[in-house]
Structures are given as structure tokens and as C-alpha cells.
Symmetry: D2
Subunit: 431 residues, 4 copies
């Protein structure tokens, strides 16, 4: 597309709220996306290492999902069906049972919540409070669980919390996540001290909720021991264990669920982002059958049956999770990623790798530096973002299906970008 055909973007300034954000980091208009690449209106192609913040684990427009979706639409399949029974929903549930739950020996009821991660989180904490008759929920430092009031109360980031405009963010106690107090400090000790003292002032919890790897919080990965310790403590206290696997799930850390490696069985698991496989809005809450005490419609929502998402979500499961081949590919890709990121880290004094599996990044020590690297990478054709309390982590969330060559190419761009920025900063410092 020649330059002069670039769409006029003043419509955004004129009509879209100031809340918009990613478009500020990637100032172009995207018109097409396939696999791990996005194309803008000028015909420029970018490698996508953001993947809809882990919503596109299988890449953009997977051809099998695409075909199934077009077929469904073409034959007037149900688009919106509230929570009525549809063939698309039944097929999804059966695939989920067969390929996700049964092979892992997991027994969950699936609640189709409103199709956003925050809605699944809200449903989870409501249910935990109903089940236990307690109000307090334990959340963790640097956790991110969503922007509606119940989820925001669980979220750590003060900027996000300020968005509540002073509304009460209550009934939550925040305790330190694994590693948050520095190397060698076992935060479980602190957590237990606060929760096992009947005079601590921390009320008995209805639930614990944590992310196995914190996406927004800076790619902090909980150790297996920590996850197990929290699970044991929850059981001891009569509280439910909720794992928020929205960003870390669907293979992102190397297994379908990010908590699998710890051998724990959460009472509830929240899923969203890559659940539809195609970037379509879809969220679900897994609930151990004994806790599924909802009355009909006690938690409801208009879009809780997104049938397009059922169609693509089923294909995603059948294509990628019917056997172990995809999972084993992830292992080797993770090694490629670690190697590539280490090269970046080596450029920057004090930088260190964060995360796990295909959810890794480099903590470069400052949000400014991380932002410069990402901006430079975009100029060179790579879409990549930061995370962390101070945006200090350059975060790679590439599609899990990114072909090896393209993956290396993307990592190469990142390395170049980091080199450009550090070289330039060194030059400035030298002047």
C-alpha cells in the first residue's frame, strides 16, 4: 500500500478515549495478521512478540480455526446463544474434557463467565466467599487480576488501583509473592506467620489467588515449592486455592496449565486470553465439582456463550493438545528464547532473565531503558512490550507456534535494538 493511502488516524484522537494505550507504543494502523506477523496499512510487516498479551498463543488466524469459523458462520451456526445448549458448546466441552481434563486426571466443572479474564476472576472470588462463608481473600504483591472492582482489589499495581477513583478496594489482604523480598527470603514464612496467628488482624481467608508466573507484575515465576506451600496452607486454613492462569495458561509456560509442574490441584482455575485460540473474547472458570454451588444465573452475563469462540477453541484443543507433540516443541523453543534473551542481558550490566517457558523476558533495571529498547525494536519490525512494576522488564510473549527461523529473527531484532540503545546511551554518557 503506497504511503498516501495510509488511513487517516485523526479519528482516534477525535473519538477514542485517552485510555487507549498500545496504539501509542505501536503508532501505525494494522490491517492484516497471519501466524506470527502483523501487517500495517503501509504494507510493513512486523514480527509479533506480544501476541495479544498471550491471547494469540497459536498465532494470528490459524488456518484450521479460520476454516472452521468460516464454515460455522456460513452455515448460520449460532453466534450468540446466551447460555443455551448449542452444538458448538457441546463440542468444545467434549474436547476440553477429553484432551485437557482427562489426561491430567483433573475433575472440574466449567463455568462460562462473561468473556473477559476479570469476569472469571470475579466469579471465582464470589464463589470462594459463598463456599467458605468468609470474606477475606489473600492476593500477592505484583499480582494482576483485572480492572473491575473485585479483581482490582486483588491487583497490586498502585497506578491501576488509583483508577478506582477512591472506591473501596476491600476484603483482600496482600502478602508477598515468591521471591518478592529478595533472593533467599522465604516469603511463605511471612505468609504463614500472618495467617496462623489468631491475633494478627488478618481475617481467616476464603481463598488464596495467585498467578504461577506473574505476567503484568514482571514475569516473576513462583517455584514449585512455593506453590505447593501455598496449596498446603490453604487446605490447612480451610481456604480455597484459586490459580489465575489467564496469561500463563494454554501452554505459555510449557504445559497446558502453568501449575501442572507443581503437582497441585487448585480448587478453581481462571482461564481466558488464548482459550479461544483465535483472539476471540472467551473466559472460563474451572471449579472443583464439590464447590459448584451456584444457583442458576447467580452469576451471569450476556456474552457468556460466545459460540464463535467455542468453535475455534475446540479446534485449538484438538489440534495442539490431543497429544504431547506440541508440548515437547515448547521445551526446545523455550531454550531458544532463554539463549536469545541471555545475549540481550549480557549487554546490560545488572540485567537478569525473568520468567519461565515461553513467558520470559529481561529485567533491564529501568522502565526507561526497557521502553527505549522496545521502541527501537518496533522501528526494526518487532512488536514487543514491557512489564513489571516500573515497566523494567522487556517481555517476550511470542506465539507458541512461531516458526524457529522467525523466532530467531525476532530475537535477533531485539538484540540489535538493545545494542543500538545501549551503544547510544554509552555514547551520550561518554560525551
Amino acid at each position: 500500500m503506497p504511503k498516501d493511502m495510509t488511513p487517516d488516524t485523526t479519528i482516534y484522537e477525535r473519538r477514542e478515549s485517552e485510555a487507549r494505550s498500545y496504539c501509542r507504543s505501536f503508532p501505525t494502523t494494522f490491517v492484516k495478521a497471519q501466524g506470527s506477523e502483523m501487517t500495517d496499512a503501509d504494507g510493513n510487516t512486523y514480527i509479533d512478540f506480544l501476541a495479544g498479551c498471550s491471547s494469540l498463543n497459536y498465532g494470528h488466524g490459524d488456518p484450521d480455526m479460520k476454516a472452521a469459523l468460516i464454515e460455522h458462520i456460513s452455515r448460520d451456526g449460532i453466534s450468540h446463544g446466551l447460555d443455551m445448549h448449542t452444538d458448538a458448546k457441546a463440542d468444545f466441552l467434549e474436547a476440553y474434557e477429553k484432551h485437557i481434563l482427562e489426561p491430567r486426571g483433573l475433575d472440574y466443572k466449567i463455568m462460562m463467565t462473561g468473556p473477559t479474564g476479570t469476569n472469571a476472576v470475579e466469579a471465582a472470588i464470589k464463589l470462594a466467599r459463598k463456599v467458605t462463608g468468609r470474606r477475606n481473600v489473600i492476593a500477592f504483591t505484583n499480582g494482576f487480576h483485572g480492572m473491575t472492582l473485585g479483581s482490582l482489589a486483588l491487583t497490586g499495581n498502585s497506578g491501576k488501583r488509583n483508577g478506582a477513583g477512591g472506591a473501596h478496594l476491600g476484603d483482600v489482604t496482600h502478602l508477598p509473592y515468591d521471591g518478592s523480598m529478595g533472593d533467599g527470603v522465604d516469603t511463605l514464612q511471612f505468609i504463614e506467620a500472618m495467617l496462623e496467628n489468631g491475633s494478627s488482624g488478618v481475617d481467616a481467608p476464603a481463598a488464596f489467588i495467585f498467578e504461577p508466573v506473574q505476567g503484568e507484575g514482571g514475569l516473576n515465576a513462583a517455584s514449585d515449592e512455593w506453590m505447593q506451600g501455598v496449596a498446603r496452607l490453604a487446605k490447612r486454613l480451610g481456604a480455597l486455592l484459586i490459580v489465575d492462569d489467564i496469561q500463563s495458561g494454554c501452554g505459555r509456560t510449557g504445559t497446558y496449565f502453568a501449575f501442572e509442574r507443581a503437582g497441585i490441584e487448585p480448587d478453581m482455575v481462571t482461564q481466558a486470553k488464548s482459550l479461544s485460540g483465535y483472539g476471540l473474547p472467551f473466559a472460563a472458570l474451572l471449579i472443583k465439582p464439590e464447590h459448584d454451588i451456584w444457583k442458576p444465573a447467580e452469576h451471569n452475563g450476556t456474552f457468556r456463550g460466545n459460540n464463535h469462540a467455542f468453535v475455534t477453541g475446540r479446534v485449538a484443543i484438538e489440534k495442539f493438545w490431543a497429544d504431547k507433540s506440541f508440548e515437547s516443541e515448547l521445551q526446545s523453543k523455550a531454550t531458544v528464547l532463554t539463549t536469545g534473551l541471555q545475549e540481550v542481558a549480557d549487554l546490560i550490566p545488572g540485567a537478569k532473565l525473568k520468567g519461565r517457558g515461553l513467558m520470559q523476558g529481561v529485567d533491564v533495571g529501568s522502565g526507561e531503558l526497557a521502553g527505549e529498547i522496545c521502541a527501537r525494536a518496533f522501528e526494526k519490525g518487532l512488536i514487543i512490550e514491557t512489564s513489571g512494576a516500573d515497566d523494567e522488564v522487556v517481555k517476550v510473549l511470542a506465539p507458541l507456534t512461531t516458526p524457529d527461523e522467525m523466532f530467531r529473527k525476532g530475537l535477533g531484532i531485539l538484540l540489535e535494538a538493545a545494542r543500538d540503545v545501549t551503544d547510544n546511551n554509552n555514547k551520550i554518557a561518554a560525551e
Copy 2:
């Protein structure tokens, strides 16, 4: 499809949460839908007077939207783009500006929130609190605004509120909606008495939020005078006016926005349900430019840019709202509806009509009777539901595009169902 090919539905009992609800009223599996009809796995066809709770105002699978959506998918148009600029979004915004805002002399910024109504409501109250520096929000009896914690606090229904499991539903004052205290009682007088007395204990409000016609609350319609009175009071108190037009908007009550007839200009308007036109998850918050003080990403969400919904939503606007013809059709359809419902009401002592435009129903006095009528209607091929605090209102939310003949046919089924039930009840009473 012969009976013995009916899909096995035990998957739902086995794997779907007890929270599911509509599937209990309409116990069949739907496989196809077009226009105002849905078809089940046995090949039975039903007239749809529920329309995804007003999410399908233009019917199922509108052919123009369908074609545009298939074209978009086929050409690898963006599916998920976070809140990046895309051609689909630009086109939607331009259509919205040209056909919705400009003809009505309205000036709003559009915030793409998470694609559920409750998310738009949560964003609205957060913003109102930020803008005013106040916490309290005035909501109204029988109002329904969603199930996440912030919206649930605004919602009246005690069953839904109990779903919070005892979590704090605070920072909200509930006051009586128009008509809620009986005919001839002006609830504005009460509202003003509570809010204009500095010693009432009701803290100065950040905002008022109301639905022009209450969908879940029983098809209560606010008079123009009441809406104007609330708008004036909000202004006087330095509070923002938020209209929740999620169920009543997109033509449902006879105009694009349900508040247009009152000549008010809300500070914010929430939209969802029929905004995509195709039943796809999509929600937006309209914000007067002077209140759009969000920082980038201060309220965010993964699925806030559902590009499929932008595509169909644009077609919906261009097809139905580019001129006044659709709106004028709604007027005559509303008359048909009123006439049809009056016939039902005439069968039942004390029954009365509720609602406005194509959002009307009959209050039959008890939830039991209303439920029996809807169940009988379903047996006869009509999908229809109840609403109201005690489910006492038989509610018609047919697609606005339902052809006249089919509309009359559906109303005919409803009348028959009501007659069957009342005849039978009379027979039982006589025995």
C-alpha cells in the same frame, strides 16, 4: 434431523457449572439461527422473542454483516489487536461518528472497554469518581448493571447481590426509580429530599446511573420528566449523569439511544449487547470529552478491541442508522406489540402492560404464572422469557427486524400459550 440423532446433552450436567440458566428454560440444543428464528438439533424451528436479551436487535446472522465478517476473516483481517489502531476500528469509529453522534448533535469520546456490559459500567463509575473526587454513586431500585463487584453494588436484586458471598458492596446509595413507589408518587421528591439535605447521611454523589427502561428489573420505563429531573439534579449537585443503555439502546425503545426522547445529554453512556449487531462481545463507554481524563491503560482489558465486532458493528450502523427509515418502522412495530400484549393482558385479571417501544411486556402478577406462560410458549415454538423482581413480567425482546407476519405469529403463539395456561388454571380452580 431424526430424533435419534439428538446430541447427547449429558456433557452439560457433567461439565458445565450449575450457574447455567437459560438452557434450563429452553431444554434443547440449538444448531442454527437466522433472522428471528432458531433451529434445534431435531430440526424444530422457534421464533425468537428473546434475541439474546436484546443482543440481537438486528436478528441472527444478518446477511450483510455475515458477508462482511466472512470477508474480513478470509482476508486475514485483524482478529485480536488489543487496542492498537486497525482499519476495522477506524471504520467503526467513523461510521459511529457520522451516523450516530453527528445527526444527534452529540459529542462523545468512545472508550472500548472489556467487551461486556459490566465492564463498561465499571469503567463509568471509576471515571465518575476520578472526575469528581467523590465516592458515592446513586443507583436505583430494580436497576441491573452487571455482576462484577462494582456493578453488582449498583444492582438492586437481592438474589444477585447475595452472589457476592458477603463481600462489601459499598460506595453506592440506592434510591427509588420512577414509578417504584406506586402511581402518583413522584420519587424525584424523595430523591431530592435525601440529596439536598446536607445532614441526610447520603454523601455527595460522584454520579447517578439509571436505565431509561429497566430490562431485568421488570420493564419499568422512566418518564421524560423523571429523566430530565435526575439530569438537572445531577448537574445541580456537581455529579455526573451516566445512562446505562446496554439493554435499552440500539433502537430497542424506538430510537437509537433510549434517552433521546427526554432531550438529555448524559455525561456518560454505557453500550453493549446489540452494539456489534451480530451477537459478538462488544461494549463501549461514551464519555463527554471534558471528562475523558483517563491515563493510558488506567482501565484496560485484553479483549477491548474485538475487531470482528468492529466489522459487524459498522455494517449495523450503516445499514440501519444511516437514515430515519428504520426508526420509523420501529414505531409501527411497537404498536403491533402493544396491541398483541394487550390481548394477553386482557386474559389475566390485574395484568398490565410494561415498557416502551419494542421493549414491552405484560406484568401477569406472579412469577409462577409468567413462567408457565413462557414454558407453554416454548412448547408451541416461541422463545420468550420473564423479567422483574419476582419474574412476574412476560417480556418481549424480539429482533427489531422481525418481519411483520412472523411478529404477529409469535404474538399469536404467546396469546395461545397464555390462554392455555389461564384456561387450565381456571379448570383446576373450578375443581
Copy 3:
């Protein structure tokens, strides 16, 4: 005492918090008080129509209480005994049972709370929540119940509420007090409409709490019918009825309890102010025996057994409430008061009488005018204060024991003060 011996008052500016208030209205140093008179350091004597805000219903330093107190102190009677058994406490309880409860056919357990009214209120709402398992408490416009967080949440005045510095004042719904919506509007109708609609958003209440006559709120007196209506409604809803009789009790409105006239039997009654009879800190909560489910020390407090107050409080009961004579005197005194206040009201266009018994005043229409009248009265030797949302009521809270001559003299000063101020204002207006 000659002028030059006036104590230096700079100590107050230097060392006492800015929160101090009455000393600003009555800028002198008091050194002595007897009966209905206070004497300052300059030897000036003032008639006291404030009576410690109804804490000195039997006047200052009643000679019998004084003698008993001195005797108790002299013989090393217990001063502070936590909540241990003491002879002083037993004697008080027996007098209370014999002269207050039994003659009125009332059966209450007495809880000695911390010796402040607000502590009794806090204990009451805690207990109501424990008994009912509900959280919401219904309080009323213009109500005043104290300044600690639980009581402040019940209080209407926005200035007082702002003192919380933004802390959450929750779990309370404020509804309109009798008469608060203007003459002829039955606020019970509104209260019932909000509480008997399961979708109103007002959660089922644990309790209702009201003052029979609102002292701080502007001497608003609830009718018997209204009190009965609230009592019936509370019973119907399974909520407890708490009467806050702190300012209106101990004879202030003409009977020992201000609610007696309505024939209601509250589930709990808060008492303080004149309970000790001598101005000593003392508060109690009356609890119907079936609701007395406290565990030992579940609500406690260091000073909950003020034995000096038990001594004087017992004398007060035996002296004034052993027979009906004191009560009948109050009736005639109230008539004197009404007559005197009517003369004041007649001077001021639009002024109207407020209150009941010896808790009456004149609403002069503005806080400024009321303040001027009180200031002028003080210059003339009368201590009197304002009340109401805007301090618009000149309030008489004379000791109930004020001799008739002195009472008339005080009312005469008030009339003169009002005349001075209105004359002067008229003069200014005429210029």
C-alpha cells in the same frame, strides 16, 4: 473576683487542640456551678440553658448526689473497678430495676459500655449484627449518634462525616426521618417502599436506630405513629429496633424514656449524658434478654465501671424517679417553655417551634440569626446553643430542675436577646 484576677487563657491557644468548640461560644473561664447556674472566674453568674447538652438534667452539683459522692470517696469506696462487682454497682442496678424498669413493665439486661454515648451505640450495632447475621443498619436523616467510626456511619451531618478523612462509613442506609420531607409527607411510606422491595438494592437490615427527638439534628420530634410504624416494620423484617435515647432520655422530653409515649418496646436502648445525674461519664446499653448473646468481654472497655457515676446515678433515680411527682412537674415546665419560645418565635417571620417537653427550641430560619441571638443572650447572662443541620435552631436544654422563677428569667433573657438582634437587623435593613 476583680477583673485583673481573670485567669490567663492563653494556655488553651497554646496547648488545646483546635477541635475545641463550646469555649469559643462562651469565652470565659468557669469555676463554679450549682443548680442551673454557672459562675465564671470574674464572678459573673449565668443561667445555664445548655446543661451539658442534656447531661445535667438534674442541674449542677445536686446536693444529695454531691453528699453521696463525697461520702463514697471519703470512705475509700471503689473508684475504678473495671467490670468487677462492687456495692456501688449493685445498688445502682437495683435502683434501676426497681424504679425504672419494673414500673414501666420493661425487661432489659444492662450493659455497662465505655462511658460515652458513642460507645453504647457501637455496642448496640455490633450486637444487632451478631444477633441477626446481617450487616446493614437503617439510620435516619439528621440523626446524630457519635463520632467513632461505627456511630459516625449512622450520623447524618456531612461536616461530622468529613471528619473521618475519607475512611469508609459503610454498612448503613440512611432513610428519611419523620417530617424530614415536609409537612404532610409520610416518610414511612418511602421507608417501607425501599425495604419491602427485594430488588431495591437496600440490603435486609440488622437494625433500625433512631432518636425519638433529634437533638443535634434540629429538635425534630418523631410522632408516636411514626415510631410505632418503624417498630412494626422492624419486627416484620426481622430487624432489631434500637432507640438512641442518649440526649432525649432521663426525663428530657417529659418521661424517663422518650419512647414511652409511643408504647413501643425497643430491642435495645442507648443511654448516657444524664445517666449519672452529676455530669460524670457513664453510658449503658439496655438489651432485651433474648438478644444478650455477648461472650464475656466480646465488647469491653477500661472505664466501663465508673463507680462514682454509679453512686450519683443511683441517687438520681431514687430522688427523681421513685414516684410520679417529678414527671408531672415536667409537664408544667414544658408549657412554660412552649409559651416562652412562642414569644421568641413571634418576633421572627417564619420562625417555628421545634421539639418536645423540655427539649424545645425555635427554628429561626438561619444559622447566622440563631448564632447572633445566642451570642447576645450570653452577654446578658444566659448560656444557650443552637442545633440543626445549619445551626438554625435556638435550642433550650435547661436543667429539668430549674426553679420556675429562674426558668422564666432565662426565657426572658432569651426574648430580650432575640428582640435586640431582630431590632438591630431591622435597623440595618432600614438603612
Copy 4:
């Protein structure tokens, strides 16, 4: 008094609320008290090692205070004066300024709050929120600050918290007190980790509040370093430092204020209990002048000017704090106490000493054992109570003025009681 003259105590069962507690541990009726002894109706005399929970630091009925109080009452001095200027108040303030503030180089405004410790605490947190514009207050494990809703939210004990009946105890974060996580664990490290991470989810605090030695929480004494660390952290975060010296103040730990030894200067200090010196209800909040931003009456209360308490409180200051002699006596008494308690501790495996100064006790490992020891001591003529989360600490709060011989006698009884109980338990175990 002969046995048969014992007062009838059924009045308590009949009329006093079940909330009563100390009378259950000390089941007799007290009629007289002098110095460190209390006498019951049977003429039995008990040594008082409870001292009104540290409200009687100068013993019962100090003769100088007694004389001054009788003189004040006899000459019709003001008893109740709201917050008007009185000679008694001026004299108290001047003594306080001269003997307490000036010698310590402290500059505070004094706020006369309602005369209970909890009221001073409530005033402090309200003011801290007003001053900082923040809501969150940091309180500590095992802290006790009172029973009204604002103070209860700060309190750790779950039994006390449950008394709120489910009301919201919000706007507070509880963090670990010094020593609460075991020997050798520096809780400041945890506190700083939670408060200096902008994504911890712990909102920026308005204030920190702690007791230098936790009375109810089990005689936990904060080290000087910890107090200094909290003070520094508060300053760094822009939060106010509130020291709750209600139980630990007025000489209890060896200095007038318990925080003096750490060399910190709190922004606010709460005082009550022994402030009047005579067990009379009296509380005050010390406020650094720059924070004294109260509007007149923004926090008020009927009994905030207890003039009897001003009289005795002034004598207490002049008698005990005009020079250093009393303070130096406390040092030697504390040694006696430590020695005596060590003998008790030596009897019980695992027992350890807790506390500081004349606020010491023995943690005997279980509430049951501690209770048995106290009960046995009472039989032998000693009034003594337990404290701690599980009542596991035998706590000595003798009057600071207890003559040495009586002090040793009391400690002797305690040792005997402990021996009786442990001997008996050993005998039972051996059987």
C-alpha cells in the same frame, strides 16, 4: 463484715449483660480500695496486681488526689463543662505542659477526646487521614486499640474482631510486630518490603500505629531499633506515626511515655487509663501542632471535659512527675519484678519472661495453665490476670506505687500459686 452480710449478687445475673468479664475471674463484691489493696464485702483484703488494667498506676485513692477531688466537689467546682474553659482544665494543661512536655522537649497540642482510650485512637486515625489525604493505616499483629469500629479495625484479636458481627473492618493493613515472627527475624524487613513496593497492593499509608509494649497482645515489647525503624519508615513514606501509649504510658514501663527510650517523636500519642491518676474516665490525644487541623467540633463528645479527672490528673502530674525521683524508683521496682517473675518461670518448662518495666509477665505456654495460676492466686489474696492471644501470659500490672514489702508479698503469692498448680498438675500427670 460477717459472712451473712455478703451482698446478694443475683442482681448481676438478672440485670447485667453477659459481656461482663472480670467479675467472673474475681467472684466477690468489692467495697473499698486503698493504695494497692482492695477489700471485699466479707472484709477480705486482696493485693491488686491488675490495677484497673494499668488505670491505677498510682494506686487506689491516692490521698492527695482524694483530698483535691473532695475539695473540688465540696466547693461546687465544675463537674461537667463540655469543652468550656474551666480553672480545673487550665490547671491540668499547665501542669502537663510544665512537667510532662517541657522537660522532654516535646511540643504537642492536647485534644480532650471522649474519655475512653478507643475514642482517642479514633480521633488519631481520623486526623491522620485528614492530614495525609490517605485512608490506609498500618497496625500490627497482636495490637489492641479498642472496641469501637475504627479502633477495632486496628485490633488484631480475632475474637474481638468477630464482635463486629460482620461489619466491615477496613482501611487497615496489619503487619508483623517486632518479634512476632520468632527470634532473629527482623520484621522491619517485611514491613519495608510491603510498603516500599508500589505494586504490593498495600495502599500508601496515612499512619502507623503501635503500642511500645503490647498489653493485651501478650506483653510484647518493641525494641528501640524497631520503634526507630518504624518512625523512619513513616517519615519516608509521608505517613504519620501514632504511638498508642494508653496502657504502656504514665510510667508503666519506667518512663512517663513508653516511647521515650527510643528517642522518637511520634506525630500523635494516645493517652487514657492512668491519665486521671484516680481511675476516672479521661483520655487525650497529643498532636504535633502542625497536624492540628481539626475544625471546631469536627470530632467532639459529651464527656470530653471530665473536670474531676482534670483535678486528680493535675495532682498526679505534680506529685509524681515534677522531678525524677519517681522514675528512678520504678527502675528498682522493675528489678524486683523481674526477679520475682523469673522464680515463677523457673517452675514451668519453656516459660519465659515478657514485657518491660512494671509491665512484665510470664508466658507459661498455655492459657489454661495461666488461668489456673491466676485463679489460685486469687484464692490466696492476689488479683492478677492473663493476657496474650491465647491468654497464655500471667501479667503483672501492679500499681507503680506499691510499697516494696507488699510488692514482694504479692509476688510471693504468685509464686506459691504457680507452685500449687504445677505441683497439682504434676501429681495428676503422674497418676
